[in-house]
């Protein structure tokens, strides 16, 4: 069964450094998402992306964050200057159709980001 893959599985970085988290969504999916989950807490929406542009973003997704689909397969999340509070598990997800059309989200296994 096709799956969403994320790399790296664990990233350690120093405060103030830039990080790029990478995702390869399921190949025939058109809608892409980033979520984050601070340890033991809820899964928080960051951003959704369709047709090479952001379609929705949350308050968490400020100017420090950006997303890109640099080629036909990868979908990346960049954090420009990391803060301690950015430490979390970051999940990429993809879906075949829009959420309101009833398409499930398929999640990757996540990248655990640790900011020291």
């Amino acid at each position: 069964e096709p799956e969403v893959t994320q790399t790296p599985s664990h990233q350690v970085t120093q405060m103030g450094q830039e990080v790029i988290l990478r995702c390869v969504p399921i190949s025939n999916h058109l809608y892409f998402y980033w979520y984050r989950q601070i340890l033991g807490q809820k899964v928080e929406f960051l951003v959704s992306f369709y047709n090479n542009e952001i379609s929705e973003k949350s308050e968490i997704f400020d100017d420090q964050f950006s997303v890109e689909r640099p080629d036909g397969s990868n979908f990346t999340l960049k954090i420009r200057s990391t803060k301690l509070e950015d430490s979390a598990m970051y999940f990429c997800a993809s879906s075949a159709r829009l959420g309101y059309e009833g398409s499930p989200l398929h999640f990757g296994n996540g990248t655990r980001l640790t900011v020291t």
């Binding site: 807490q41 899964v43 929406f45 959704s48 999940f91 959420g99 309101y100 059309e101 499930p104």
Partner: protein
């Protein structure tokens, strides 16, 4: 605005039933249910699209009351494998792109032998 789930946690013996509720203060278009095991990604369980729709597979089913802006997940004759955190996710009618799934705080379910 995120949906509210209740209870926050529940402990069951194998074979017992549980109900997890999800409610929203805003009109809903659809409700998703996911289960997350410790250290893993959320895994899709089901989607409910229409008011009053009820769906299920195996011994897990769900209902969606559009008027009350609520959904409930029913786990019957629970098995050890049902343990995990259950999240409801909601899509609201006033999303511009209908492309934002917002998760509730989660319900931690533990099934004991």
């Amino acid at each position: 605005q995120q949906p509210v789930q209740s209870p926050q946690a529940v402990i069951l013996r194998e074979g017992e039933d549980a109900v997890i509720n999800c409610s929203s203060s805003k009109a809903l278009y659809s409700v998703h249910w996911y289960r997350q095991k410790h250290g893993e990604a959320p895994v899709f369980l089901m989607i409910l699209l229409k008011g009053g729709e009820q769906k299920g597979h195996d011994k897990i089913s769900a209902s969606f009351n559009e008027k009350k802006q609520q959904s409930s997940l029913y786990l019957t004759a629970s098995q050890l494998s049902y343990s995990g955190t259950y999240f409801c996710g909601t899509v609201h009618l006033n999303n511009n792109a209908g492309n934002m799934l917002t998760f509730g705080g989660g319900t931690r379910l533990m099934v004991k032998p």
